[in-house]
Symmetry: C2
Amino acid sequence: MKKTRFDRWPCPVARAVDQAGDAWTLLILREAFYGQRRFDQFEEALGIGRNILARRLERMVENGLLERVPYQPRPLRHEYQLLPRGRALFPVLMALLRWGNDWAAGPEGPPVTLVDRRTGQPVQPVLVDEATGHPVTPERVRARPGPGFPGALLEEEPVRRRFRLTTP
Amino acid sequence: MKKTRFDRWPCPVARAVDQAGDAWTLLILREAFYGQRRFDQFEEALGIGRNILARRLERMVENGLLERVPYQPRPLRHEYQLLPRGRALFPVLMALLRWGNDWAAGPEGPPVTLVDRRTGQPVQPVLVDEATGHPVTPERVRARPGPGFPGALLEEEPVRRRFRLTTP
């Protein structure tokens, strides 16, 4: 089945979804943050089929999330290391973790929690505005077209309604 | 193709991914936060096939992300309203938006940005610890098994390595 590509949509969410909005990709990233680097490690940790894993890793390398690096000359073997572009997806995983613990834990409580590496204190991730520290909630923020939004699209009525722009 | 289900994995990320780790589901949520509620609105805004949209909406209703509510008696018509469980995915979308603007904008700049509804000031979402306000980064936090993690699994060597537990 042909997958729809979202990478040219004038929307940062769609572009991120295009590269990371896939169950296996997100779980491979999770493993990478746990320190896994090798094909067999991903395979074992996720119970994922080898062909699916190979395809996902290839796409993640193409997209600059992971780098394929030789770690042994003979026989030649490669491992997959997180690149800055992939590391920058950490908040996405943490937001998913928070939701999973808040909304999908059983009566026994969260399966996995976070602690501060230095203090050992529990950490609860929450999204705030960098400048003011205010929580980022649907009530508090709204989206608006940025400098990269195509000017022609801004003339269209459905687009103007979406951004609640007054019609000229 | 049978999809792997992640909803019983002892991992909050996997459970969240099971319900929201899908490109169309995330984009339908995006539209819901823009205020769209009706089948035809989702269809028009996303250019999504009607059968795919119907299947995704059904699953989102089953999972308690959206509620199907009648808005007109004859002919009977329904709309889809965000439930608290779906609204709680807002930080996931905001983390994707931030990544898309930081790593997938062209030279012309971000296509969509956020502003504070009251002050109009730009908002940049960042993930911090609720209690301390410290940024949540891979260098600063680590995962550990929570109360809902199956005890038997904690005996297994790969699991102990993952959580960097010292072997007894």
